[in-house]
């Protein structure tokens, strides 16, 4: 659920008392019409708040925490679990690490990990914190239908409030889901710099191979599905176009 206009304007006045709406839009790179529309509708998107926070050097998580719906984000940042950290590493980076460790010297110069989020970050994050009953608890707590939750994961997205509710249901740090959805960066969530790389380095070769294998399997399935959809479309056009 997006943020109520009134509370948002109170917050905005708090961080930039002298700035006009035009200034705020210019500094944060938000289109004026977009903000105006969100304010008129009474629902300001979380992404808008995050952009403005960044422009005014306010931590977005702390900013979100001032709103009632996100009160759970307040307080000291909870460190991410190793599984959460590894879930936020791009599949290609996992494969690169696998090659580098299996045959040192053949993988080229060491590269830093790609920034969060990656192409399947949301589903991988949920899988990393799921004890088998997570989806059930989330749908119980938020009244979201399980198939709608799955649809979000397949589309690699999750509304921020649902992401926070999912963290709470899993008992992990509340901001992890916001990193996975790309709303905030890992630094903004209070994840230590290099934490993902360290978590990756701590994995054994076997663990790494299994994880990379799982990711490849999922990637292969999704690519195959895309190819089949493509073939189906082409056949229709070839016969009927």
């Amino acid at each position: 659920m997006p943020l109520p206009s009134k509370a948002f304007q109170r917050w905005l006045h708090g961080i930039a008392p002298d700035a006009s709406t035009a200034d705020v839009c210019r500094i944060s790179g938000i289109k004026r019409t977009t903000l105006a529309q969100q304010l008129v509708r009474g629902k300001v998107a979380e992404a808008t708040l995050v952009s403005i926070s960044r422009a005014f050097n306010v931590n977005p998580v702390a900013a979100l925490a001032t709103f009632e719906a996100y009160a759970g984000l307040a307080g000291e940042a909870v460190p991410p679990t190793p599984a959460e950290l590894v879930s936020q590493i791009d599949t290609l980076d996992l494969l690169r690490a696998m090659v580098a460790r299996s045959a040192p010297g053949t993988a080229g110069p060491g590269q830093s990990l790609a920034a969060t989020p990656h192409a399947t970050s949301v589903r991988n994050w949920v899988d990393a914190i799921d004890d088998g009953e997570l989806r059930h608890r989330v749908s119980e707590a938020t009244r979201i239908a399980p198939q709608n939750f799955s649809a979000h994961l397949t589309a690699n997205r999750l509304p921020p409030e649902l992401a926070v509710a999912t963290s709470r249901a899993a008992g992990v740090g509340p901001a992890g889901g916001l990193v996975a959805t790309g709303l905030i960066t890992e630094a903004e969530a209070g994840w230590p710099a290099g934490a993902r790389q360290e978590a990756l380095d701590r994995m054994t070769r076997g663990e790494l191979a299994l994880l990379a294998g799982e990711r490849l399997q999922a990637l292969g399935k999704s690519l195959r599905r895309q190819e089949q959809d493509h073939e189906r479309t082409e056949r229709i056009w070839e016969n009927l176009g």
Binding site: R225, Q226, D229, H230, R232, T233, R235, I236, W237, E238, N239, L240, G241
Partner: protein, 241 residues
């Protein structure tokens, strides 16, 4: 409204047929040109003015209606083959062109001719609505609805998969239109159950079915042209579809 609809349908069909002439000359998918021409002829023969003119020339005992029936069977055979092949439904192709499908066609065609011969059909009247009702006339009309309905049912699963699938939006929409046309066609099986005071519904359903089918079919062609042009301008797009 009910008097404009037949002519509007005829105009749309004729437009489609004419629009297919250039590609037919180039040798691309000529069957589509034949198909649109056949549908145009079917519609022409089902409109009162042209029907009476042609039937008076053929002797005035509604031979034109029998001719129209056979033209319709041919149209649906062709339509069925093209659509089932295009929408990737091998079961559909088998059901239409396999032994069972051809047997259905042969039996329906033979019975249609027989019931026509045993009915007193003197006096030109479009749709045979002006003739004295008799069981053989009812059977003749039912057979005329049966084969198109059979083909439509064979095609539906394949088309539905595309509508519900992950193809380009325009293609899914236009396939939906096609599906709607076939659905209306199948619904015509219950015509005898419609009370006579609602008889105006019958031509409305028939022409809506024809219009939706033809527009859906033309839309597929349009969607191909649209996405081809788009992927030409933006190469990244073709990787998606």
């Amino acid at each position: 409204m009910t008097s404009i609809l037949p002519w509007a349908t005829l105009a749309v069909c004729l437009l489609m047929a004419v629009a297919r002439i250039p590609s037919a000359i180039r040798g691309e998918n000529r069957v589509l040109f034949y198909l649109f021409s056949l549908i145009t002829l079917d519609i022409l023969l089902s409109i009162e003015g042209p029907y009476l003119a042609i039937d008076s020339w053929l002797g005035g005992f509604n031979l034109t209606n029998l001719l129209l029936r056979f033209l319709l069977y041919g149209t649906f055979l062709l339509l069925g083959i093209k659509l089932a092949t295009g929408f990737g439904s091998p079961a559909g192709v088998r059901a239409i062109t396999g032994g069972a499908g051809l047997a259905v066609l042969a039996i329906v065609a033979a019975l249609t001719a027989w019931f026509f011969l045993v009915t007193d059909t003197r006096g030109s009247t479009v749709g045979l609505t002006g003739l004295q009702g008799s069981p053989s006339l009812e059977a003749y009309a039912a057979l005329g609805r049966l084969y198109p309905g059979y083909v439509a049912v064979c095609l539906m699963p394949g088309i539905w998969r595309t509508v519900a699938g992950a193809g380009p939006l325009l293609l899914r929409g236009t396939s939906g239109l096609l599906l709607l046309g076939l659905l209306l066609l199948v619904s015509s099986q219950i015509f005898p159950l419609i009370p006579t005071e609602n008889a105006w519904l019958l031509p409305l359903i028939n022409y809506s079915a024809a219009l939706a089918t033809v527009l859906g079919l033309g839309g597929i062609w349009l969607s191909k042209a649209y996405y081809r042009r788009k992927s030409h301008r933006d190469p990244g797009f073709s990787q998606k579809y």
